[in-house]
Structures are given as C-alpha cells and as structure tokens.
C-alpha cells in the first residue's frame, strides 16, 4: 500500500498570482481575434468605398411589403443598403479547416488521456489506501 499524496499549502501570493494568470489568458483570447477582424474590416471598407452607387429599394431587391417594413423601422434605401449588402463569406480554406479539426480533436485526446492517468491515481488512493 502506497502513502496518500499530501499537497503543499499555497500562500496568499501564489493564490493571487494564479487567479490573475487565468484572467490574463481570458482577456488575451478575447483580444487576439480582433487583430484578424481589423484586417478584414479594412478590406471591407476599401471594397465599400469602391462600390458607392445610388441605390433604390428596387436595386436592393426589396418587394413592396419589405419596403414598408424597412420604412416603419426607420430605414431609407441608403441606410438599409449597408445591412442588405453585408454578407458572410463561407468559402472554406482547407488548410485552416484541417488545423481547426486537429486543434479541437487534439485538445480532447490530450485531456482524456491525462485525465485518465490522474483518475487512476485518485481511484488508487480512494479505494486502496483506506
């Protein structure tokens, strides 16, 4: 029978450091995608600037009822054009897709493997060292 693991006590400074570290990681992961977005926004703004033309409800493809509802919502054709012409780009970059699949799958495989190892230790202490 092996001896149960006794963890060290953590001081107040260590507790504060660990808490702040997790928060820094969260804020960093919130901010990083902004770098990509800033680039995409600049491209979109350039494209919009190049495509400034006079718009009407007809050129925007809006039928009579749709026009009525836009007007009730406080929109004229120029204002509505921004929303109507704004589109998602769903073209798929195969390399990015493969990287994303590997990251998500790798994360779960890593977690399940390490967790299983740790869990066996927990069960051994719980049931063997009573």
């Amino acid at each position: 029978m092996s001896k149960n693991y006794t963890p060290p006590k953590q001081g107040m400074f260590g507790q504060i450091f660990d808490t702040i570290l997790v928060l820094v990681l969260v804020y960093a992961s919130l901010m990083v995608p902004l770098l990509f977005k800033a680039e995409a926004k600049a491209e979109a703004a350039a494209a919009n600037a190049a495509a400034v033309v006079k718009v009407s409800w007809e050129s925007l493809g809006q039928n009579e009822i749709q026009q009525q509802q836009w007007v009730k919502l406080g929109y004229d054709p120029e204002k509505a054009a921004t929303l109507i012409n704004s589109r998602f780009d769903y073209s798929i970059d195969p390399m990015m897709l493969i990287i994303t699949i590997l990251v998500v799958a790798g994360y779960f495989i890593f977690m399940l493997k390490v967790s299983d190892k740790q869990y066996r230790e927990v069960i051994r202490e719980k049931f063997d060292n009573k």
């Binding site: 693991y5 006794t6 963890p7 953590q10 260590g14 507790q15 504060i16 660990d18 808490t19 997790v22 928060l23 990681l25 804020y27 960093a28 992961s29 919130l30 901010m31 995608p33 902004l34 990509f36 977005k37 809006q62 039928n63 009579e64 009822i65 749709q66 509802q69 836009w70 919502l73 929109y75 509505a80 929303l83 109507i84 589109r87 998602f88 780009d89 769903y90 798929i92 990015m96 990287i99 994303t100 990251v103 998500v104 994360y107 890593f110 977690m111 399940l112 390490v114 967790s115 299983d116 190892k117 740790q118 869990y119 230790e121 927990v122 069960i123 202490e125 719980k126 049931f127 060292n129």
Partner: protein
C-alpha cells in the same frame, strides 16, 4: 438525504441549504435562457436566412434535448454543487473537471456580461423614445450586475424565487405578443409570404446558423448547479430541466414565427432587441411597453441565473483546490459561496466594458459547446463504469447510447458552423483552454488532494 458536509477555508463544516423545488429549477434553467428568445437567436437569421434559423432552432433543440436527458440522469445521481464539473471529477478525471469548471464559469460570466449590456442598451432605447438621447449605458450595466450579486450573496431561495416570477412574466409576454399578431390570419399583421425568402446562402448557411442556434437554449444545463440545494435532486432536476426544454421549444418557435412575419431577414439578422422591435412595428404603445419590460426582465433573470451558476462552479473549483482555496468558502449566515459571488462581479463588468459583445458571446457559446462535447464521453463512461443496477440513479434516460451519439454528431456540426465566419475566435478560445490545461497539469494539480476528488458513496468503478 443528509446534508453533505462542506469544509470552508477556516475548516468549519457548513452545508448549503436544501430549499429548492422543481419550479425553482425550471426558473433557473429557463431564466438563464429566455433572454435568448428576446435577443441573440436572430443572429441565426443573419448567418443563413429565416428558414435556416427555423431549422437551426429545431436541430439545436434536438441537441439540447439530448443534453437535458443526459444531464438529468447524471445530475440526479451526482447531486452536488458544480454540476457537470463534479460529474467530470467523478467519472473522467481532474484535468477534464478543471476544464469543465472553466467552461461553466466562462460561459455564464460572459453570458451575464452580455445580459447586462442588453439591459443598458434597452434603457438607452427607452430613453430615446422619451426624448433623452445618448444615455450612458455603463451605470445600468454596473447596477444590474451589482444588485444581482447582492441578491445572490444574500441567499439562493430569494434569488431563484425572483427568477421564477420575472421569467414567468417574460414568457407570458411572448404569448401575448403571439396572440396580438393574429397568427391564424396571414396578411393581416404577419407577412410571411412577402418577407420569407429562399435560403440566401444555400444549405451551407443552414449549417452556419447552428452556431447562434445555441442562443435559443444556451444555459438550460445550468439547472445542475443547484443540485446540492434542491430538496429532492432525483425528482426536481429531471422535472425542472425537461419542463424547461418544453417551455423553450415553444418560446423559440413563437419567437421565430412572430419576428420573421414582421421584419425583413437582413434587418432581423443584426437587430439587438428584435422582439422589442416587433412590438414597435405593431404600433401599440402598450405592447411596446410590455416588451420593453419583458426584455429587461428576461435579461435580468438570465444575468441572475448566470451569477448563481458561475459562482457555484468557481466555488467548486476553489473547494477542490483546482483554483485558489480562498474561493471555496460558504457564508456562515447566508450559506452562499459569497467570495466567488463577489469575485465574479468585477470580472463580469469588465467583460461587458470591453465592448467586444460578439467576442464575448462567441466565448460563451463555445464554452457551452465544449461542455456538451464532454457530456457525450461522460455519459458513455458513466454507464460503462457503473452499469444500471450497480448504483442508485434518481433518473434513467431512455435509448442510451443514441442521445450521446446524436449529441456528439450535432456538436461536431456546430464546431463547423462556428468555423464558418468565426474561425479565428474558435482557434483563439481553444488556445485559451489548451494553455489553461497545460498550466493545470504543470503547476496547479500539485495542490490537489487526490483521494478527495472522489466523494460519492459508490463502489470502485469497473476497469479501474
């Protein structure tokens, strides 16, 4: 069931109060989610069009039905604060548990921030209608989070009783709005024939819409967080959770039906408060006022439930030393995880003040999605390690393993949906959880008492 002893940081055994019933569980689950029917669900329309939104509503409804079935069985058996976190600890292992705890804290804290922002924006809209332009929303954000945190600090019974009342009123407002649009007579108020279009992006837009389809139901699994505070977990959790899912399916379908019959999809796809806009379009000031109040109630109920759930998850992480033990304390008088409640107040407010609403929402959704992926492994292992009959289960869900396999398939589809349009956010958030996991293994796990991670009175698991 006897109260479980909990050791606070100063070693005084205190237990949380067992005062909740199935209605409180319903209020906790639906209260967190119902705001999703008032705002957020409509981003599905932006990603794929109106029909894609309806398909996403039902497909993701199936995902959450699987979540509710699985959760009801495991939670009614592992009845402890922390919900899925405690389940992971007992069934999969410490690293998974640490990650699940973080999913819960992040999903709920960020959702709370988004709710507070909605309250602020709503106040601004209301002020504009009354002739006060450019109202500063920040004080309303702070007030909302601070008031709800105070309520949570004082006790769970009052907190969830408030949720029960305001959630019921918000849900009733959706029914009233549905009746007000004369749903049986097309063309009188509703204009589906003129407003509904073909799928603007084709079927890939339908898949993409699954991402924000989660807003219709995100947070229903939070019912598990109250497992330690209900009088009968085996009865209350399944009743409250499944009842909540039925309520949400009805509310989501009504919401889609009313909004898509009143607004062009391009407007609806980016609206901040679509149901309030729907009432405005009807031209009735009473309906407008009702939806103003109901949207505020829904956002407050959601933020309230989120503070409740995030604090319990953070408390559980602290209690088990996965995070600093300072947070694992219960208030000696109010029996609430007060340090965790107070700690999360500035965090939620700071998330709200970043101004990154779509990032915050995506973080919340992805954290929820990672949690649902965990549930599939958890359920399969749970039945293998303790087969039926080997331990007492409060509830046994039918058709195992079909719900778990369905859930995993739908989770994979939703990851792909997030990749479409939010790929950078997906990788960035995964990087956070990977770095946090490495940090846990290399530094944090040394503070964890191994044998203390298994507290259920169960026999040794099969295969271990």
């Amino acid at each position: 069931m006897a109260k479980e002893k909990i050791t606070t940081s100063n070693s005084k055994p205190i237990a949380m109060l067992k005062v909740l019933n199935p209605f409180h569980i319903w209020a906790l689950g639906v209260g967190i989610v119902l705001v999703g029917e008032f705002m957020g669900w409509n981003f599905t329309v932006g990603k794929g069009g109106a029909y894609a939104s309806l398909i996403a509503c039902w497909v993701i409804g199936l995902l959450y039905t699987c979540v509710a079935m699985i959760d009801s069985e495991v939670t009614s058996t592992v009845a402890a604060a922390g919900g899925q976190y405690t389940q992971a600890k007992h069934i999969i292992g410490p690293l998974m548990a640490f990650n699940v705890g973080l999913y819960l804290v992040m999903a709920y804290t960020m959702l709370c921030a988004a709710d507070a922002l909605v309250v602020g924006d709503l106040m601004k809209s209301g002020a504009e209608v009354m002739g006060y332009a450019n109202l500063d929303t920040k004080p309303f954000v702070v007030l909302t989070v601070a008031f709800l945190a105070w309520l949570n600090y004082r006790g769970v019974f009052a907190t969830l009783t408030l949720n029960l009342v305001i959630t019921f009123l918000a849900f009733t407002s959706l029914i009233v709005l549905f009746l007000a649009v004369d749903p049986l007579h097309q063309g009188v108020v509703l204009q589906h024939q003129a407003l509904l279009t073909d799928l603007p992006y084709g079927w890939i837009g339908v898949v993409a819409a699954l991402q924000f389809g989660m807003w219709y139901y995100l947070g229903i699994e939070g019912t598990c967080q109250a497992a330690e505070e209900v009088r009968s977990a085996g009865r209350s959790i399944p009743l409250g959770t499944m009842g909540g899912m039925m309520t949400l399916l009805v509310a989501a379908t009504i919401t889609w039906f009313v909004a898509t019959g009143l607004m062009p999809w391009q407007y609806l796809g980016q609206a901040v408060t679509p149901m309030y806009d729907a009432a405005t379009l009807l031209g009735s000031s009473q309906l407008q006022l009702m939806l103003f109040v109901a949207t505020a109630f829904a956002a407050i109920a959601s933020a309230n439930g989120c503070i409740n759930d995030a604090s319990r998850a953070w408390f559980s992480l602290g209690r088990d030393r996965y995070m600093p033990v300072f947070f694992g304390a219960i208030h000696p008088k109010y029996r609430t995880p007060y340090r965790s409640v107070l700690f999360l107040v500035p965090i939620a407010i700071s998330f709200a003040f970043t101004g990154l609403l779509d990032q915050v929402i995506t973080f919340s959704i992805l954290s929820g999605l990672l949690g649902y992926t965990f549930m599939t492994f958890n359920m399969i292992k749970f039945r293998k390690m303790w087969p039926l009959g080997s331990i007492h289960r409060g509830y046994i869900h039918p058709f195992h393993p079909i719900p778990a396999i369905t859930l995993l398939t739908l989770c994979c589809a939703t990851y792909f949906a997030t990749f479409l349009g939010y790929g950078a956010s997906l990788l960035s958030i995964m990087a956070f959880y990977i770095l946090a996991s490495i940090w846990f293994v290399l530094r944090r796990y040394k503070f964890v008492k191994r044998a203390d991670q298994f507290t259920m009175p169960w026999p040794r698991p099969k295969g271990y």
